[in-house]
Assembly symmetry: C2
Homo-oligomer: 159 residues x 2
Amino acid sequence: MSSSDRDLYFMKEALKEAKKALEKDEVPVGAVLVYQDKVIARGHNEVEILQDATAHAEMICITAGTTALENWRLSETTLYCTLEPCPMCAGAILASRISRLVWGAPDLRLGANGSFFDLFALNHPMHSLEITPRVLEAESALLLKTFFEVTRKKKKSNP
Amino acid sequence: MSSSDRDLYFMKEALKEAKKALEKDEVPVGAVLVYQDKVIARGHNEVEILQDATAHAEMICITAGTTALENWRLSETTLYCTLEPCPMCAGAILASRISRLVWGAPDLRLGANGSFFDLFALNHPMHSLEITPRVLEAESALLLKTFFEVTRKKKKSNP
């Protein structure tokens, strides 16, 4: 598999996670962590179900990844997430020493890789990583659009 | 109790948490979450024990706080933490809508309230909060200094 085919393959896995969130009425964001060409951890947004604002897809996936590798340093891993990470998740990606980040759709309000601000462009004292943005952007954005349209309709019928 | 006496009281509670981390050979950082003048959640750094880079004192405390209040929105709470929050924790504080933050010692490398950069000075689209820095700064800094001196000594004797 070429490196871009690999990115498409794993982003589709992250999209499967985002769809799980959608089925639970959560904002549809998904993530997978890849090590040695295998998915070692998965996560999808569960903020409402867990009633925990830190339960973003990336955070759940990172914690599951540290359990899988029995190491808080996720060196030589790639995190695929369907949405540009927020400040919390971007901070967690740096803290856990993930070596590559691939994301799908930009988060125009809260994205911490250029949309709101760019945490990765600051001179982090301990870590830097490779980033590939906008992989399967349309698919990720469509899921989010679907979710917010349904939410809006529900609010209109139950104002 | 005056408001500054209250801050000293609750920061001492956060310092108790930091000491628990020190006893476990973790970087000594602690946090407590206060709602209606009561500590409703506690946390201390457990990155090494849990082998999870996201297991910072603030993150553990925030998740425990959402469990206590059964709500991901921690409105009308104050988070006391012994160290200036890192980017991940600062992002989590904003995401969970904490209304006030009180911190102890600055984190000159990674602090996200002015030392590394200031996440709270950016125009976050959903939330802003009141911040009181450097409460019991010397006590928090001394704990960290003690930890890093002991670590350095251990490294010297076991290079």
